[in-house]
Symmetry: C2
Subunit: 389 residues, 2 copies
């Protein structure tokens, strides 16, 4: 008896939420659900629910300390981005990239190859637009690309940037991973070396970090480390942080500055924006999408909280100056601000830039967007302040 | 006939959203709505809807460019704040403060007085805790408070901070508006003058700014302006920006630094987080709450986009260095980052700090929260870097 009534009570709560939600979703519908609630059923008719109708429902649903009950919503396009960028805010979810859940190594490879082919296909035009040339190379046995802008300003002649691409530890192998390096080379006027590290399913952790470190050891022979910065977005941002941790541990020179963009600094689901921006971010959409699978594929049984996988759990003391980039709709907004705070707590000079309406890593998607130019110009300025000449 | 079918089609879309929402809200319920949809009715039974069930619904709802359709959700408490601060994330909506909509000046005054009495009542304990004394005063005919910490470090002996309180241009008159000044005085070790500017309903725009300017003109006689910073949160942040605009215009000395916290820099509804963080922020909750009413009450017929009301529309060139503070759940997150970007675009040194899980201005609410100490310590450090001694 007791158990049954407990169940019914839980059901009633759930259904009350469902009704609030359903009502809210219409944005203009009146709820005629009360009669049906006793049956665990919520009936909504689309007529006239506005703020005044939502207000008491929401107040009731959020009257006690605890989780936040949020109604379904139709979030309009912001008027506060550039028109170019607004088109990216409007873009549909990226299917199948965001929610891929391949059941075998073969399926992963097929998907990765398909997305990589599409990504690589647009690189020549991007390089052409930004006046950047690309040279494939091999450094310490690891594949890499050298991106060189047509004009390198005098201040950057003796400087070198090291780029680590993103893609959730599975996407963007080969040329498809070079877009960010091209943008930085072209907008910032820097020579960039981009590492094409090995990835799952064939090469789980620590292959990617081993490759990134092997190349780092060579990069610091090519140029004075005080004239070198390391940057990357998402997985590339997480690996940038992990590289500094490992370089500290191995007693290697550190870069003079880093730019972890919306870094995947925690492979577990910790971080409030994993929930607040779930279904809002139109790039990653949800932690339950591909990244929850690729995290496990990459970790290959290792503890996700190992600082080499989730650098947020590492010690940031002694880190070089850092500039971090995110957006208000970014699923990794929390990871970015948590990383920023942790750097500041460790006494590191760290700057944060957050862009209006921006989902995960969207500053990489359109070279013509003013927001893209702004984000890379800010990073370039930061590097200019902190790199030797 | 045509009209009727158009209506039905719109209805169907609306109901589809409602069903997605209802399903999502349960977080674990299966949708058995299909049969009912033809009747414009969505029936949801609370059994088993998980990510796998939501995924196709959400993909379908977000398959075309445009607004973002987001399901209802129950957002859990983040594990990534301090335990102290987590209690603030968990707090219920602040009823009636957030959604007040008084119908007359008398009703406004009653509400304001009631909230102010509650706010003032806790100030003595806050000052005691932080070792701060308060002295009411009058400067240029305007009421003000002088907050003095027990110990002023040698570096701050010749420095002075000027504080402008928040409260949507209606709340927090008198002592109830001094909490932020006390926190800054106590945590930062600065002498602070806090202006108790006139407010609606009796004194709409430009009374508040006239008072703030009148006191500013006296403050800069008390101390070298190069040793003075101005700070304030929400309305106080907007007024800080408007004060600098007006001081520029009137050829007055500018402060050496400013700290607009989650500034109400735009009284119109522009800003993506007005929508993305609606119902998520547990302090302001929604633009449709009291702030939409108080904005009009304050503006009193003036154009909301006048830079003296919405400083984001002003010219930020020549502004002093600025540090801005917000949170990932803040309804004003967009206003904060848009202000930050606009300052940077004008060549101003501007730093941004964003706190995990934080709703609007929540760094003011608990002196014992590590996040509060961190936010004010960062501002104090920033002032220390930019103020003369």
């Amino acid at each position: 008896m007791r158990k049954r009534s407990e169940r019914r009570s839980y059901s009633t709560i759930v259904v009350r939420h469902a009704c609030i939600a359903a009502a809210a979703a219409t944005l203009s519908a009146s709820v005629i659900a009360s009669a049906a609630q006793a049956e665990d059923v919520c009936v909504v008719k689309s007529t006239d629910l506005d703020f005044a109708a939502l207000e008491p429902l929401q107040n009731a649903a959020n009257a006690k300390p605890g989780s936040r009950v949020v109604p379904a919503r139709i979030i309009p396009l912001p008027t506060t981005t550039s028109p170019k960028f607004q088109a990216m805010v409007a873009a549909p979810y990226r299917v199948p990239a965001w929610d891929a859940n391949p059941k075998s190594a073969a399926e992963w490879k097929e998907l990765i190859a398909k997305l990589a082919a599409a990504g690589a296909a647009v690189q020549p035009a991007l390089r052409e637009k930004l006046g950047v040339t690309m040279e494939p190379t091999t450094i310490a046995g690891v594949k890499a690309f050298i991106l060189t802008p047509k004009v390198i300003p005098p201040a950057n002649q003796n400087r070198l940037l090291y780029h680590i691409h993103g893609g959730g530890y599975v996407y963007a192998p080969g040329e498809s991973g070079t877009a960010e390096a091209t943008l930085m080379a072209g907008i910032g006027g820097f020579k960039v070396i981009s590492v094409d590290y090995r990835m799952p399913p064939d090469f789980p952790y620590p292959a990617a970090m081993d490759d990134a470190m092997a190349v780092w050891k060579e990069v610091i022979k090519l140029q004075n480390p005080r004239n070198i910065a390391v940057f990357g977005t998402s997985t590339g941002g997480g690996m940038t942080l992990a590289l500094v941790l490992r370089a500290k541990q191995e007693g290697l020179p550190l870069p003079a500055a880093i730019a972890p963009g919306t870094p995947w600094s925690d492979l577990t689901e910790a971080g409030d924006s994993y929930k607040t921006n779930e279904w809002v971010d139109n790039v990653l959409v949800s932690y339950s999408g591909y990244i929850s699978h690729s995290a496990l594929l990459y970790a290959n049984g290792h503890d996700l909280k190992d600082p080499q996988l989730s650098p947020i759990y590492g010690d940031f003391h002694g880190f070089p100056p850092a500039i971090l980039t995110s957006g208000t709709r970014d699923l990794f907004l929390s990871l970015t601000v948590l990383t920023h705070r942790k750097l500041r707590q460790a006494g590191v000079e760290a700057q944060l830039q957050v862009y209006e309406g921006m989902s995960h890593a969207q500053y990489l998607f359109d070279a013509d967007s003013p927001e893209t130019k702004e984000a890379f110009t800010e990073i370039a300025r930061f590097f200019d302040q902190h790199l030797g000449k």
